[in-house]
């Protein structure tokens, strides 16, 4: 059925003139950097945040250069790496690993319980709680956790919500009861859950190949958001719904009632009624392949892609990365008209492949495939 749907959609797309159907803004394609430079026109750049990036690697104490996630915990920074959980405090790194009780050395996800100060780490071998230096680990063998590969974790009140390779799980910290969510009790067609964002009202799951799943905490009901174009990689009607089924990350802002969603084929913004999608061809997104999205408010969000870190302020875009061509630090700004201009910078995130983002006041921390970056905000 899926295959048929895909073929039909492809045929339909081929038969139509995309350019004729889509609005002018969506027809803008390549960045207009060359136009601005050629005209030698002084473009008034939007005021977007600028950073001086300090990068951490194993050379200065990071447990491993492959950093899957980062978490800001006051003055502490937690780095989820391929070889241990790093904690940066007072200028020094401390590494937690399996000998300390960590469920697995490869740490994929992090969440802070702001009430207790406990840090929750999703790993390739289970879920760990780091509390006052003690690590308690929950696995599919020693607890009710559905699967040991924990891609995402989010803490809300007494509940720890977990995204795993075999469905989602929820641990009630009062009763120690686990609840499992999968194809048997939710509209989750695939069970490969990549991300979770929990708030008192709603919990959202990014399900790889199954769109976005929404759990209403008050009504105890489930809802599901899919790509109206099915599993194709084409976009028939751009803002009709979720941009793609292969979702990787969700960020729900309860105050604003806004959902930001990342997929490997573009990103989405949902306000409860309308969807707005972002693709490289019609936005400042440096790549459709997005690993992580972190919403700031209803209009602003940060995106971690395979081609750099991107910021969207509701109108304009900024991209921070080592140049894809030269590797030199690069920052570009794209205004509302699609004009792209470079900003002279001396530093950039450690790598283009961005996997995690967190904020420390006006600073930003970025997990990359080759190190952890601290973006120190520049006035």
């Amino acid at each position: 059925m899926k295959a048929l749907r895909t073929i039909a959609t492809v045929a339909l797309i081929s038969a139509l003139s995309t350019a004729a159907l889509l609005p002018a803004q969506l027809r803008s394609t390549a960045p207009k950097l060359h136009k601005a430079a050629a005209a030698n026109v002084k473009v008034q750049l939007p005021n977007l945040p600028r950073f001086r990036f300090e990068n951490f690697t194993t050379a200065n104490g990071l447990p491993d250069d492959h950093v899957f996630n980062v978490l800001v915990d006051g003055n502490r920074i937690w780095a989820a790496t391929e070889n241990g959980l790093g904690m940066f405090e007072n200028g020094k790194w401390k590494t937690y690993n399996t000998q300390d009780g960590l469920a697995h050395r490869a740490v994929l996800s992090l969440a802070l319980d702001k009430r207790t100060g406990d840090v929750w780490a999703g790993t390739m071998g289970g879920l760990s709680r780091i509390s006052g230096g003690r690590i308690d680990s929950f696995t599919q063998l020693n607890s009710g956790l559905s699967n040991d590969v924990v891609y995402g974790v989010s803490v809300e009140g007494e509940h720890v919500w977990v995204a795993t390779a075999a469905g989602a799980s929820m641990l009630d910290l009062h009763t120690n009861q686990w609840s499992l969510f999968n194809e048997r009790n939710t509209p989750m067609f695939e069970i490969w859950v990549y991300g979770v964002s929990a708030t008192p009202s709603k919990v959202y799951f990014a399900v790889w190949g199954s769109g976005i799943l929404e759990y209403d905490q008050q009504k105890k009901t489930w809802d599901k958001y899919d790509d109206p174009d099915g599993e194709t990689e084409m976009v028939l009607f751009k803002d009709q719904g979720l941009i793609h089924e292969i979702t990787t990350s969700v960020s729900y802002l309860e105050k604003d009632k806004i959902l930001w969603a990342a997929t490997y084929f573009g990103d989405s913004h949902y306000d409860g009624r309308r969807w707005h999608n972002f693709l490289t061809k019609d936005s400042g997104l440096p790549s459709n392949f997005t690993n992580v999205v972190k919403g700031v408010d209803a209009n602003r969000a940060w995106f971690g892609t395979d081609k750099g870190l991107a910021y969207y302020d509701g109108v304009n875009w900024a991209v921070y990365r080592p140049s894809l061509a030269t590797g030199k630090p690069e920052m570009t700004i794209r205004d509302k008209n699609g004009n792209v201009a470079p900003v002279e910078v001396a530093t950039a995130p450690a790598h283009n492949y961005i996997l995690g983002i967190d904020f420390q006041g006006s600073d930003i921390w970025v997990a990359t495939a080759k190190g952890l970056s601290h973006g120190i905000h520049q006035p």
Binding site: R115, R129, S131, G132, R134, Q140, G144, S146, N176
Partner: protein
Amino acid sequence: MTAFCRFAVRIGSLAAGTAVACLLAAYNWPGRPAHASAASGLSGERLDYASPVEMLYSADGTRLFVLCQQSAEVRVLDASTFKETKRIEVGRVPRGFSLSPRGDRLYVANSWDDTISVIDTRALQVINTWPVQAEPSSIVEDREGKHLFVANRISNDVAILDPRTGVEEKRLAAGRGASYITPSPDGSKLYITHVYPNPTPHRTAPQSEITVVDTQRAVVIDRIALTSVAHGFHVSFSADGRLGVVAGLHPRNLVPLAHLDHAGAFTDTLTLFGKDLGAPVEIPLDELERYAVRPFGIAITPDKSRIFVTCGGSEEVTVIDVQRLLRYVHSHPGSHAQDLAASANYVINRVPVGHDPRGVLMSRDGTRLLIANRLDDTISVISVRTSKLISTIPLEGPKQLSVLREGEQTFYTARYSFQGQIGCANCHIDSTFDGLQWDLEPDGFGRDIVDNRPIEAIKDTEPFKWNGGNPDIPTECGPRTEKYFWRAENYDGLTLTDLAVYVRSLPPRPNRWRLPGGEMTTVQERGRVLFNRGVDKFHNPIPEANRCSYCHSGPKGTNQKPFDVGTKKSTDDSGLLDTPQLTNVAITGPYLHDGSANTLEQIWTIFNPEDKHGRTNDLTKDELNDLIEYLRTR
């Protein structure tokens, strides 16, 4: 009643088994006590003993509050004359209490009611009873009055309540069996101990901790490791805050315990921490052929010259010279738990007191020390200067000893064991279990490792021992104990009978997973169906003996028969094991006969590959979770 009659009553109680009225009456413990007549005290009936466990002075020092566990009340005494002026009824099995910073409220943690009694200290009456959860065992309000901290023994955490409303705001993960909270002298931190060891890999040394909480932020900021300590009790600080002391039990459960040798089963220790020490140091209280069994309460004199430690099993207070202690520790770096010659360097006296001394309270002028003797209903008064007993103050109540009381005294005392090293309560903390595995019996090194089974509601679950070798409690508690543990005098017939009556009377603590009225949640009901099923998911009949409900049948979850569930290890002589009861199975881990399963899940995810321990390998993870949620209601 003649001695013969007394003997006959006791033996009669045992011989008649479950039908004997006295035992049935006893089985009601620890509900609010029946006010039995004095004459009934020699049967199994429960008398209205006070059982003091903790004490506090009122803010102005004129009153002494005594927390009485068995009578479930706070008794108010004149602090000078010890004359009782008031009794304030609280909840079941109160375990800890404290004054608010202004002294206007007395908070009581009622461990079996899951409530906090709030007492107005001027009106001397309960003004609020707040529902909490999970066996609250102690309670402390921070100095600013922002938070109330409650140690929960069942959920292994510290609940933080709003002190105006009692509403829980959050919980902090503490050690397993979190029980006792002590503020630092400046009030900025709380130190929480726990009575059961934290989970560790199978057959490794037990680990405990002192959980350190920042009172302002109400978060855990540190965990002081108590390596090889299985059970932690009270903490005390010197007035300058530089020396912290915690009482603990250091078991030797990794080596064979065929007979008691010198400190063969436990070392009774203090762990010292704080700026006076640097790294924490564990020091023994025991000395060769003299043991300070089950240290519990601690007081340090205001001038930091002496430490006093109540030792429940040896029924005495151990007195330590602090300066000698610090000199010794500094000149002998490292911990000394195994060195029974060490204590001679700092233990300067041992003061005999009553049965099972628990709480300790320094008088406000620092001249006297009060000791709550739980199983005597007395308060011992000790001179701080001379370290001698000044007087013993009896609390009002029955003067005669009931069979149950004598049995309980026997259970808690160490006087029967070789050199007075241990009592039953060493391994059955507060008459429960210890979360440890032991290498018992003279069957060879590392043979037949056994997990210590809980003894709550043990009545009608015979036979005993994992191999089912003991047909009844008198056999379990008598010849076996005498032979393998005590190596000393045998119990006389009356003492053994008292002990057996007491053990048979132990009730289960309330089950926190069970809904009122016996109803079940949807999840629990699904699990119950799995527990009772006779057909697997492939529609194949499950043989009767391979159903959960066959072996774990009856009200206590045991058919009292042996069964091989496929868990025999190469070190086990037999795979045939007594079917354990399921009473409060949610909290009695680790599991299986040798404690190799740290969690209920592991019983089936790891140790049931051939479906010998019930047909479970057809279940999905969701269904296994359902089954476990049902088991938690047992």
